[in-house]
């Protein structure tokens, strides 16, 4: 600390907005903060560790016989389904944690720092992709242990994993929006569950669509989660990248295009 340093602050040229480079740097630093938090409190990874193990076991053995005749032939259908359901479900926590975080004093400091306004949000969402990665890897490992051998090969399995992580990141903007506008963390959880359940269960994730009534089939075919599940099945089971793949990415991009500006706007208004 010396007085020259303090004085020089007043003489350097000051900008009244954060540029793109700064926004990116700030977001990455906020992501680093998220990772440090995870390292400090690893127990917050319980859900992404236990859920894939539990759900994969449960759903496969419960539905396997009824839907595909036997457990083994159900695996190529259920593993992509359970993967999408688990990882997207994990993204709810992003909104809940964001709400809890924003209630803490440290957000006052973020607001008083000359950083990009979107950085605390973007950083938190970015750090959470680590959670999606853990859930993805564990689901595939569980599937493998239960006898699932994806025909597409390891390369396509990795592509499928990345696709699911990217789409879950996009979906997490929806929950981040509720995180910003809701008053308490538990209400975020409540609202998000109401959205998540229809979205994941009214899809082709667990059962064949043609067993459903017509009006429901219409929704299921329109549901972006169905496209994502189909894309993952195409990748892992046949090693193809087709229309379902593009449709999933387009849906994800649309979600980000709608909810990212909404979320940032709501966040700024609260600032």
């Amino acid at each position: 600390m010396n007085s020259a340093a303090v004085k020089s602050q007043l003489d350097r040229p000051l900008k009244n907005h954060a540029g793109f480079g700064q926004t990116l740097r700030n977001s990455l630093t906020m992501a680093l903060r998220g990772l440090l938090k995870i390292r400090r409190t690893p127990e917050q990874l319980f859900d992404v560790t236990l859920q894939p193990i539990l759900f994969t076991l449960m759903f496969t053995y419960i539905f396997g016989g009824a839907i595909a005749g036997d457990v083994h032939s159900y695996l190529p259908i259920i593993i992509p389904g359970i993967l999408v359901q688990t990882v997207i479900g994990t993204s709810i926590v992003t909104g809940v944690q964001l709400r809890e975080d924003m209630d803490k004093g440290v957000f006052d400091r973020f607001k008083s720092l000359p950083i990009a306004r979107i950085a605390p949000l973007a950083g938190a969402l970015l750090a959470d992709t680590i959670r999606y990665t853990i859930a993805t890897v564990l689901t595939f490992i569980m599937g493998f242990l239960m006898g699932y051998r994806p025909e597409g090969g390891i390369g396509y399995v990795i592509i499928a994993g990345l696709l699911v992580i990217a789409c879950s990141w996009a979906v997490s903007w929806i929950f981040a929006f509720f995180g910003v506008i809701a008053r308490t963390a538990s209400s975020v959880q409540g609202i998000s569950m109401m959205i998540l359940f229809p979205l994941t269960f009214l899809s082709n994730a667990f059962v064949p669509v043609d067993t459903m009534p017509n009006w429901l089939q219409w929704f299921v075919k329109f549901n972006p989660v169905s496209h994502l599940v189909s894309a993952v099945r195409d990748l892992t089971n046949t090693g193809t990248i087709g229309t379902q793949f593009s449709l999933s990415l387009i849906s994800a991009a649309a979600i980000v295009a709608i909810f990212a500006p909404l979320t940032v706007r709501a966040y700024m208004r609260r600032t």
Partner: protein, 339 residues
């Protein structure tokens, strides 16, 4: 410092005119003017609920102002908020640090956000922890930090960018006396290095110890402004507390007090207690003789340094506690009637 224009914009760290903030029907800040000269310590003195924190939060871009205008080093607070944030450091009433991280991690993250490189951030964090005596606790999680350590870390975080203006919202409330005087030393050092400090406090002695000028805030308005000496002169250097034996003597005793000390006195709710400002403790002798000659018996007498309450009494005609109760929405009329 090359042009004369620069000099004029840096003479005043803060220029605020008619700041207003309303929450519902409540005008928390009701037309506050503040002028803080660069390089000084400025104290904003007032009880809880007077509008101190709201004023600071508006100046620090954390709250939008509903009326008035403010400039910080010549920059408009409402229009140039991103620039303002590059010129200020804020230390809130409740430590704004990350509970889930260690002290070092906190400072590194804040440094990185302020644009410092990886190595530079580490060095800065170590340097600040050393300066604030937190080196030993550097890697412990903040959950185990005492209130004083948290405050120090919070202040350290505000100093990373060496901001020319530092806001401190009640920097010593809730600290023990030793930590408190350490905090005072730190605040004094900040000004030596060229920063300007705007602090809020509930304690007159804190303003006395630190501030070059003081504004007294009451119910969202500045009710007095000046140097600490000027403020004290208006209250008297000390204050007299008297309790008479017989409640019926209160009126007579007040007359004598006001005649001898030539000031306004006040009787407390318990009625038998009289308080009055006093310029010179020597006058007590005259007063005691006068009381004895009138045959008024005393239960208790003491001469104390003026408290914030007396400053309030003198300036506004009502007490600080009274004020806090009213702003909290309770009426004191009932209690007064009972007494």
């Amino acid at each position: 410092m090359n042009t004369t224009k620069k000099a004029s914009s840096t003479e005043w760290a803060v220029e605020a005119r008619g700041l207003v903030k309303t929450f519902g029907n409540h005008r928390a800040v009701d037309g506050v003017d503040l002028n803080v000269r660069a390089g000084s310590i400025y104290g904003v003195l007032g009880p809880n609920g007077a509008g101190k924190t709201t004023t600071i939060r508006m100046l620090a871009t954390l709250l939008r102002m509903d009326g008035g205008e403010a400039r910080i080093f010549g920059h408009d607070v409402a229009k140039e908020s991103h620039i303002i944030r590059q010129l200020i450091g804020v230390t809130g009433q409740y430590a704004s640090v990350d509970e889930s991280l260690s002290a070092t991690e906190n400072l590194i993250i804040f440094s990185r956000l302020l644009g410092l490189g990886r190595a530079e951030s580490k060095r800065k964090a170590a340097e600040l922890l050393e300066e604030f005596g937190l080196t030993e606790a550097a890697n412990r999680p903040l959950k185990n930090f005492s209130g004083g350590m948290r405050r120090r870390l919070d202040l350290a975080a505000s100093l990373i960018a060496q901001p020319p203006l530092i806001f401190l919202d009640e920097p010593t409330t809730g600290l023990d006396p030793r930590t408190r005087s350490q905090m005072w030393d730190t605040i004094r050092r900040l000004v030596v290095t060229g920063s300007t400090v705007l602090l809020t406090t509930q304690y007159l002695d804190e303003a006395d110890q630190l501030a070059d000028r003081v504004a007294v805030i009451d119910r969202g308005r500045v009710v007095a402004e000046g140097t600490v000496d000027e403020l004290k002169a208006s209250v008297g250097t000390s204050s007299l507390h008297l309790r008479v034996h017989q409640a019926s003597d209160v009126a007579a005793a007040r007359d004598i007090v006001e005649r001898v000390l030539k000031v306004r006195s006040s009787a407390s709710a318990e009625a038998s207690k009289i308080t009055a400002p006093m310029a010179d403790p020597d006058q007590v002798t005259d007063l005691l003789i006068a009381l004895r000659s009138q045959g008024i018996g005393l239960a208790e007498i003491s001469v104390q340094k003026p408290t914030l309450d007396e400053v309030f009494l003198t300036i506004t005609g009502h007490g600080a506690a009274d004020n806090a109760e009213q702003t909290a929405g309770h009426s004191t009329v009932l209690e007064g009637a009972k007494a």
